[in-house]
């Protein structure tokens, strides 16, 4: 009986949709925390092997690393101390990975997107998702601006 009821309700809803000349309900959910996509293009291992092509998801599509800018790195160091050290020690693993040598395993774009867009990176980026599994936590979004994130990236180059 219960099943029949459900089917009946289904028919009704279908009827309603057609009666209105096609549903207007295709609007996507607005939430940022949408469930992760079913199909994963790459595994963590595959994506790590391909890290030079992995730019991550977020506002950063291209970063030009010029000569090291010590002023910018100094600013980045200050931001890092204030906003990041509760979880990341520079040289050793604390709660998350240490940033030392990060540019030997991640692209500058990926690093900045991870800082600026950690929630989406943890859900949808193959490396970000792998790191979530490894460290059991979504990195906190510490509200850095793009300029702040670029400065922190410069600081990482000095480690």
């Amino acid at each position: 009986m219960k099943l029949k009821g459900s089917i009946f309700l289904g028919i009704l809803i279908a009827l309603f949709m057609s009666a209105c000349g096609g549903g207007s309900g295709e609007k996507e959910s607005k939430g940022k925390f949408a469930p992760p996509p079913v199909a994963k293009p790459l595994t963590f291992e595959e994506a790590q092997a391909d890290w030079k092509n992995q730019k991550g998801l977020g506002p950063i599509t291209h970063v030009e690393l010029g000569e090291l800018d010590p002023e910018l790195a100094k600013k980045g160091s200050e931001i890092y101390v204030l906003k990041c050290t509760a979880c990341h020690a520079p040289e050793v693993e604390k709660l998350g990975p240490a940033p030392v040598g990060v540019l030997n395993r991640r692209t500058p774009e990926w690093v900045m997107n991870m800082i600026l867009n950690p929630e989406e990176m943890a859900m949808k980026d193959p490396i970000g998702r792998g790191l979530l599994m490894k460290y059991n936590t979504v990195m906190a979004n510490q509200g850095l601006t793009q300029e702040d994130a670029r400065a922190v990236l410069e600081y990482f180059r000095t480690l």
């Binding site: 009704l12 936590t137 979504v138 906190a140 510490q142």
Partner: protein
């Protein structure tokens, strides 16, 4: 069988849905917000936002609640005059000073009238003010943080009901004594009421400048019960009107004895004139102690400052300062229409509304049409100031608000209804029941010079609920009702429960304040005396029997999370900084046995919990606001040793251990 019934019911619901969704003249839609059903008009789909913020007084809860319109959804409770364990308000060291008064720390009040700040007679979306009725106070709520940031006590007052009703540019907030008392206070017999008891009108400056609220001046008035107020606007800018009852000056059985005379008075106060008298030095300086309390969003802390002395004006020494407008039947609400010309009084024992004309009032003053003079206050001739009477057909009018299309809407308590009337003809044009016994009503912007969208919604705040909701024992949440008033006929759309007793509410178009919302407090701007901005600065410091813990929190740990060396008899101050810099990531601190409340610390904020452990042992503490997947792991331990033991202070996180 059950399933069949269920199916049939679903069928009925679904067909209704189909009909209303697709029908062209749908539902019973008498209002004009499209031709849709009541359900559609209030339906805010998941993920969508309401059109209006509506701020309700929490009445005897002492707080303010924020609802969305048209959904009626409760968005937030803002603690104002009462302590609130949920947010640690009045329990943490930072907010305790907000509740200081000359009577000491007062943890409760009866919040009455939320009023939005105004610029040029329009709601500017900066602040919300609300009065505490019991221990006379006015609070400011900052609409960038939705936090109470300032409270000023009103001296020489009792029962501060006619408040805060700001002037057109928030030059002043006002207050008056509902309960006349000896001013200044003294020990007298209660039956000396007629000789010793006085009323006051208070004008508070600094409404547009955070931290600057102060008592600008007070006016001493005859000892009546001053009930409600409204400041003039447009043509009547510069004046404030206060209703009174008990001109009989009864001090007992007021129910009967204060209702003897046919008319009481509306006091019309010319505050621009008051400014002239103040400038001329025609004031008295009376000693009067009161508190001014201010919460700073950089130090994340409040300070309580005791003030002394007020400037007092005496009407008999200041001609032209106050006039009385005779008004029938113990008037309650006094409301001024958007142009400022009409002063609408609701004689609560009457069927009719009395509408005074501001223009006629000025003429009567000019021509000195005075019936008598009481303590230097001329009583204007009733017929000389009357613009007209609205014969409502209802009973027990209380309050009026306005749309932008020339109509007034008055609540009728006894006959439980809203009556719509025309401001030109004074004729009733529509009426609709409320469920039950409506007190205040609110049209977003309807008390200002510019009702939002010319008046789209009206909210009735009802005193009696009875059968409107599932019964919940003897006490029921007060009911609010939402009406569509955009068309010729009012239409009831929605019932929703409220908190405490919402005496009044004001609404503002959401788009006016969405953009200014603070999402977190930047760590760089934290000026708290005991802030800890990085984990390397965390520490535990002993000073006699006071121990200060400087801790931080971030998803998902405290630093430090192991603390030893606390002793029975210590007074422990937890100064905790939330290092998060993201929206909607508060962390809590709960300590077993703490005799106050949790801390609920916003990102970038520092708060302090005082804890006095009474016994030895291991005390866990934890984050009380689910913050992350590892929220349950966000916890720590404190070791409490016996009084006089030699356990040294020791604290740390992971491998980083420190000792004193």
């Amino acid at each position: 069988m059950k399933s069949t019934k269920f199916t049939l019911m679903m069928l009925a619901v679904a067909s209704l849905f189909v009909y209303s969704r697709c029908g062209s003249g749908g539902g019973n839609g008498a209002g004009a917000i499209g031709n849709s059903s009541a359900a559609e008009k209030v339906y805010v789909a998941p993920g969508e936002l309401d059109e209006y913020y509506e701020f309700f007084s929490g009445g005897f809860s002492g707080q303010v609640t924020v609802h969305g319109l048209p959904s009626g959804r409760l968005l937030k409770t803002i603690p104002v005059f009462s302590v609130d364990g949920e947010k640690g308000y009045g329990f943490n060291e930072e907010t305790k000073p907000l509740l200081m008064t000359t009577f000491g720390f007062v943890p409760w009040d009866d919040s009455h009238h939320p009023k939005l700040s105004q610029t040029n007679g329009e709601h500017d979306g900066k602040y919300l003010f609300i009065n505490g009725n019991n221990t006379p106070r006015i609070a400011r709520i900052d609409l960038t943080t939705f936090e109470t940031t300032e409270i000023i006590q009103i001296p020489n007052s009792a029962g501060s009901h006619a408040s805060p009703y700001p002037t057109q540019n928030t030059e002043y907030l006002v207050a008056a004594t509902r309960f006349s008392v000896p001013i200044p206070q003294k020990d007298v017999t209660i039956d000396s009421y007629k000789e010793d008891f006085k009323g006051t009108f208070t004008f508070i400056s600094g409404g547009q400048e955070p931290g600057k609220m102060d008592i600008a001046f007070q006016i001493v008035a005859p000892g009546y019960d001053y009930d409600l107020a409204h400041s003039g606007k447009g043509v009547s800018h510069g004046w404030t009107f206060f209703t009174s009852y008990n001109v009989e000056q009864a001090n007992t059985l007021k129910e009967k004895n204060a209702s003897q005379r046919d008319k009481d008075y509306i006091a019309a106060v010319n505050w621009k004139k008051a400014e002239e008298y103040l400038a001329q030095g025609k004031f008295h300086e009376w000693p009067a102690e009161y508190y001014h309390n201010y919460y700073n969003d950089k130090t994340h802390s409040a300070t309580a400052t005791k003030m002394n002395g007020v400037k007092v004006l005496i009407p008999s020494e200041c001609p032209g300062l106050v006039y009385y407008l005779p008004t029938p039947k113990s008037p309650h609400g006094v409301d001024v229409n958007p142009t400022g010309e009409f002063i609408v009084a609701s004689g609560k024992l009457s069927a009719d509304l009395t509408v005074h004309s501001f223009k006629k009032m000025l003429a009567a003053i000019e021509e000195e049409k005075f019936d008598e003079v009481i303590d230097g206050i001329p009583v204007l001739n009733f017929d000389a100031v009357l613009a007209g009477t609205v014969s409502s057909g209802g009973l027990g009018p209380l309050h009026t608000e306005f749309d932008g299309r020339g109509n007034g809407y008055t609540s009728f308590f006894i006959s439980s209804e809203v009556v719509k009337w025309n401001l030109e003809t004074f004729e009733v044009v529509d009426r609709i029941p409320s469920y039950y016994s409506i007190g205040h009503l609110s049209i977003p912007g309807g008390g200002s010079m510019k009702p939002w969208e010319n008046g789209k919604y009206l909210i009735a705040m009802n005193k009696i609920t009875k059968d409107r909701y599932l019964p919940t024992g003897p006490e029921l949440a007060h009911s609010a009702q939402l009406y569509d008033i955009s068309g010729d006929k009012m239409e009831l759309l929605l019932d929703f429960p409220t908190m405490g007793e919402p005496h009044y509410a004001q609404g503002i178009l959401a788009s006016k304040i969405i953009e200014q919302q603070v999402k977190f407090f930047p760590l760089e701007e934290n000026e708290h005396e005991h802030k800890t901005l990085t984990e390397t600065e965390t520490k535990v410091v002993r000073n006699g029997n006071e121990v200060h813990i400087y801790a931080t929190m971030i998803r998902s740990h405290f630093a430090p999370d192991n603390i030893e060396g606390i002793k029975v008899g210590d007074k422990v101050f937890w100064h905790v900084t939330n290092l998060e810099q993201d929206w909607d990531v508060p962390h809590g601190l709960a300590v077993m046995g703490a005799q106050n409340a949790e801390l609920l610390i916003m990102p970038g904020q520092t708060e302090t919990l005082v804890w006095e452990p009474l016994s030895e042992g291991i005390f866990p503490f934890y984050c009380s606001d689910f913050c992350s997947a590892l929220h349950q792991e966000m916890q720590g331990y404190v070791r409490v040793s016996a009084k006089g033991s030699d356990t040294k202070l020791k604290w740390g996180l992971g491998d980083e251990i420190f000792e004193e």
